[in-house]
């Protein structure tokens, strides 16, 4: 994994982006939302930010075992 494709800016080098955290399971307690992390080998749903680009927040689905990016969606703006 060396690049992410920002739906707004296009394909950019990975270092422009910042990983925030994995998404909690729906219905999680407030404690779990802050402190617990979902760990999946092949399908991870995460929040990232394009900090050195449009600064948009992204929803990224990745396979953390292969590094493949499965889906990138920009949050807000009706794209979700």
């Amino acid at each position: 994994m060396t690049r992410l494709t920002c739906p707004f800016c296009g394909p950019r080098e990975l270092r422009e982006f910042e990983f925030h955290k994995t998404l909690p399971e729906p219905g999680s307690t407030p404690y779990a939302r802050v402190y617990e992390r979902v760990n999946r080998l092949d399908d991870s749903l995460e929040h990232w930010q394009h900090v050195q680009g449009c600064r948009g927040w992204l929803l990224v689905r990745r396979n953390p075992s292969s590094g493949a990016v499965l889906e990138t969606v920009i949050l807000g703006g009706g794209a979700q």
């Binding site: 990975l14 402190y35 992390r37 760990n39």
Partner: protein, 424 residues
Amino acid sequence: MTGPTPHYSALALLRARLAGGGFWRPLWTGRLLKQAYDVVVVGAGGHGLATAFHLARDHGLKVAVLEKRLVGYGNVGRNTTIVRSNYLLPENHYFYEDSLRRWETLSKDLNYNVMYSPRGVVDLALSDGDMIGAARRGNAMRLAGIDCEMMDRAALDRFCPELVASRDRRFPIFGALVQHRGGTVRHDAVAWGYARAATALGVDIIEDCEVTGLRTAAGVATGVETVKGYVQANRVLFATAGHTGMIGTMLGVTLPIETHLLQAMVTEPIKPMLNTVLVYVHPGHGETYLLQSDKGGLVMGGYLDGFPSYTREGQWSRMEDVVQGAIAMLPQAAGVKIVRQWAGINDMTMDGSPIIDRLRYDNVFLNAGWCYGGFKTIPASGAACAKLVASGTAPDLIKAYRLSRFETGHMLDERGGGPFPVRL
């Protein structure tokens, strides 16, 4: 494997030389998985092996260590070998100091040379603020009875001449906090030494034996499912480091752990140049730690790659950061070639401190959350964790490392960074 494990000594070396082979034999291979054990330890990394050793030696229990790949394939064989006890919080002071003391005698205890090298760990201050931070940490350490020394530029020039601390740099060196008893230990030798000593005490170390499930009945664990079949166990300990998040998923527990890559790299061997361990956060390039191995290579590492990964492939951009950080301090190393780069999977907790506790069941235990700093803790963790598993009660040294601390608000957040392992 036949016969007892031979005792290593200068005399044994001589005898082996005269015997012409036959003296050396495999140290832990060839054991067969039995049907049942007092304790099954999952993961033959430093923590699993050390705990197994103490369970057998101090508590007389029948133990198996089940390893998915090979002894030493995980982080115990991938780390940058730095040991130190220069932490800030009291709970960590006593634990890390206990470990450092044990490193001093470990070669004797295991009858295996782990090459503890107290060459000092130098935390460089690159700003006035860094100096204040260093003094604060140093004072906290000394209040806990742990030695350390604040050095100014002139003292650093005497202690580590190759650094030329007084050199004019874009980000000048202000001084450093030095722990002299800190240094390095040969990482592979730690895995091999514990594996050998545990085997000699009757521990079965089974490689290529991934644990795929936990069997339970009436609310207690009865054994583990493995790729080599089912094994009965009175108690189960998971010491799976980077794969602990997955173990949580397997047991239906969501843990306060994120899985991140940390990489390291080493240059071609050069003549002796760096006599200590340098650690610093460069304002432009981020963290770098740097040392010279006994073979002569400059070993370096830095921050995590920054996002969950099980790939064991480091990002190029992080490698660049580390190298630039290294050259900013040691410009004379700029022409040296990097010959190897690798990465390990780290179990990052939400406060950066470890977890040694029960996990969901009364007879299931977890030894994890070692983040990027769990090599130095192996001897202390092994002894204390064995006490917990054998007696069911956590000794004082590790009481603070309970899993419930996140929920009760007793985090041990050295960095003061909140529940984000990669936020700096």
